[in-house]
């Protein structure tokens, strides 16, 4: 599904955010991306959704080199990837309902379907009673969940999440991870950047460890129990 081949990313200004990264994420697989702040987690996710372009190497999505994608093809790639942003990226002057509905409006889904699906998605993240509110009225954790609803609303085959539990208390975090597991079980490929090691360990999924722009560990690949990462 997603394949990195010797990818490096150097930001203008000289920061080497990623250095010679290679890994594969199979269809329907779920993995965590962890590492210290500044290790390059966000950058790696951005390269997949073409929010940034690699400086060197290739990023393949469904076998296609995204770096070679024509500009007008990019929106269609992005529709196949649900992204949960670290900074939410909500529209503060639009209601929660409209924020979540945005991907469906872009796709031209009928209003009746939009209504039904937005309600279902908000219900899933426990925010059905907040649909008429504006994002600034919500807590950080609630905004994060609105972001999740928006990311999954169009049922993309791939879900990327950047620190989705950053602002949540442990109980809510666990609940959210359950949601991700469910989505993964229904066939969605999931890649989550997080430094919540406790939570990650408990879930027993594959973990990619980034340090200073390099992958230093890749634990519990492909359905392994993952309990054996105590040595890592």
């Amino acid at each position: 599904m997603i394949s990195f081949q010797n990818v490096s990313k150097r930001y203008p200004g000289g920061v080497h955010a990623l250095n010679d990264i290679s890994f594969e994420l199979g269809r329907g697989e779920m993995a965590f991306l962890t590492g210290r702040s500044g290790a390059g987690k966000s950058t790696l996710l951005k390269l997949i959704a073409l929010l940034e372009r690699p400086s060197r190497g290739q990023v393949l999505f469904e076998g296609r080199n995204v770096g070679k994608l024509a500009r007008r093809q990019i929106p269609y790639l992005r529709r196949r990837i649900g992204v949960i942003f670290q900074d939410h990226r909500m529209l503060s002057d639009k209601r929660v309902f409209d924020n979540v509905a945005l991907p469906l409006m872009i796709a031209g889904v009928s209003f009746g379907d939009i209504k039904r699906r937005v309600r279902a998605a908000l219900d899933k993240v426990g925010l059905l009673d907040k649909e008429k509110m504006y994002p600034p009225m919500l807590s950080g954790g609630e905004q994060q969940r609105v972001g999740i609803a928006r990311a999954i609303i169009a049922r993309p085959p791939v879900l990327l999440a950047d620190e989705p539990t950053g602002n949540l208390d442990p109980a809510l975090s666990a609940e959210l991870m359950d949601t991700f597991l469910q989505l993964n079980q229904s066939g969605v490929t999931v890649l989550i950047a997080s430094h919540d090691l406790e939570l990650i360990k408990r879930l027993g999924q594959r973990v990619l460890v980034l340090d200073d722009g390099r992958i230093v560990d890749d634990v519990g690949r492909r359905g392994g129990p993952g309990s054996g990462d105590s040595d890592g």
């Binding site: 007008r72 929106p75 790639l77 992005r78 529709r79 872009i106 031209g108 009928s110």
Partner: protein, 314 residues
């Protein structure tokens, strides 16, 4: 069957209905942004309206003046002075011959005696018969022209006649008016072109500010997979609205102006003993002005949005 419909609905990206829905979304979005800052929107519309109304008003004024001038021309006559030696039968023959020319509406012969009477009456004198042993005035034919006559050609033709001494025309002021309305007509066109560009600039600038204010929204839309066309469309609609509303307001202003002027013009006509009426713009002109305004609004929006989107390309 049911399943096929379900998949189509779920994809949602293809088909006429999805296209229509996306356009409806853009349309509502554009109206929303117009309503969000009503005063600013109103000011833009007003500026556009003035820019459209100015050349339109000039065009209307010229149109009405030209029509009035045509009427004056027709009412005017040529004074054809005949040779001194001509006798009454000769005058009659010439009169009936000229009457058959299509360019001539009427010929009215004035004898030297009649001319003298008229002259003395105008000068406020006693009949001058007594003072002048010999009447020095020639026969004069007052020739009224048919509408749409080439005056210069007719004068040439009259002067070619051997019994005609000279032809008196005092229409130089009308010619001057004609030349002036021609110049002003050119000016109206130039003004229209300049102000059309002005409309595009004003609307483009308004749209540019709107794009700047909604930069965050544009970025987020791009992040969740909106195409450039989808992002651009609400702004294009906005430009279209500004142009269309401005054009319609210009038309309303012109109509109000015509109504306000109707009375004074009618009174002016009464003093001349002639019914004078201001004519409004032809439907084609109205359509061209309003449609052109909308089109230039669209153009301005297109330029502003394209340039700006390229710069903030996420």
């Amino acid at each position: 069957m049911a399943r096929a419909r379900r998949t189509l609905r779920e994809t949602g990206t293809t088909g006429v209905r999805a296209w229509t829905r996306r356009h409806a979304f853009s349309l509502l979005s554009s109206l929303g942004s117009l309503a969000r800052y009503p005063l600013a929107s109103l000011m833009t519309v007003a500026v556009v309206a003035f820019a459209i109304a100015m050349p339109l008003a000039l065009h209307l004024a010229l149109d009405n003046i030209e029509r009035a001038a045509k009427q004056w021309e027709r009412l005017d006559t040529l004074s054809v002075f005949l040779e001194i030696g001509i006798d009454q039968p000769g005058v009659d023959r010439l009169t009936s011959r000229l009457s058959t020319w299509p360019a001539v509406l009427a010929v009215d012969p004035i004898s030297p005696q009649q001319g003298l009477d008229e002259l003395s009456r105008q000068l406020g004198l006693e009949p001058v018969d007594d003072l002048l042993a010999d009447n020095p005035l020639p026969w004069v034919l007052e020739v009224t022209l048919a509408a749409g006559t080439d005056r210069a050609a007719l004068i040439q033709r009259l002067q070619a006649n051997e019994r005609v001494d000279s032809v008196l025309v005092d229409l130089r002021w009308l010619e001057r008016l004609d030349a002036m309305t021609d110049v002003l007509g050119q000016l109206a066109w130039l003004l229209a072109v300049l102000l059309a560009a002005g409309v595009a600039v004003v609307i483009g600038n308004t749209i540019r500010l709107d794009v700047q204010n909604r930069r965050e929204e544009i970025e987020v839309m791009a992040l969740v997979g909106a195409t450039a066309a989808f992002i651009r469309r609400p702004f294009l609609y906005s430009g279209l609205w500004y142009g269309l509303l401005g054009g319609l307001l210009a038309w309303a202003m012109i109509a109000a102006g015509l109504m306000a002027l109707a009375e004074p013009v009618a009174r002016l006509g009464q003093t001349y003993g002639e019914p004078v009426r201001l004519l409004g713009p032809a439907p084609a002109i109205v359509v061209a002005a309003v449609g052109g305004s909308a089109l230039f609004g669209l153009l301005g929006a297109w330029l502003a949005v394209s340039q700006h989107l390229r710069r903030i390309d996420p």
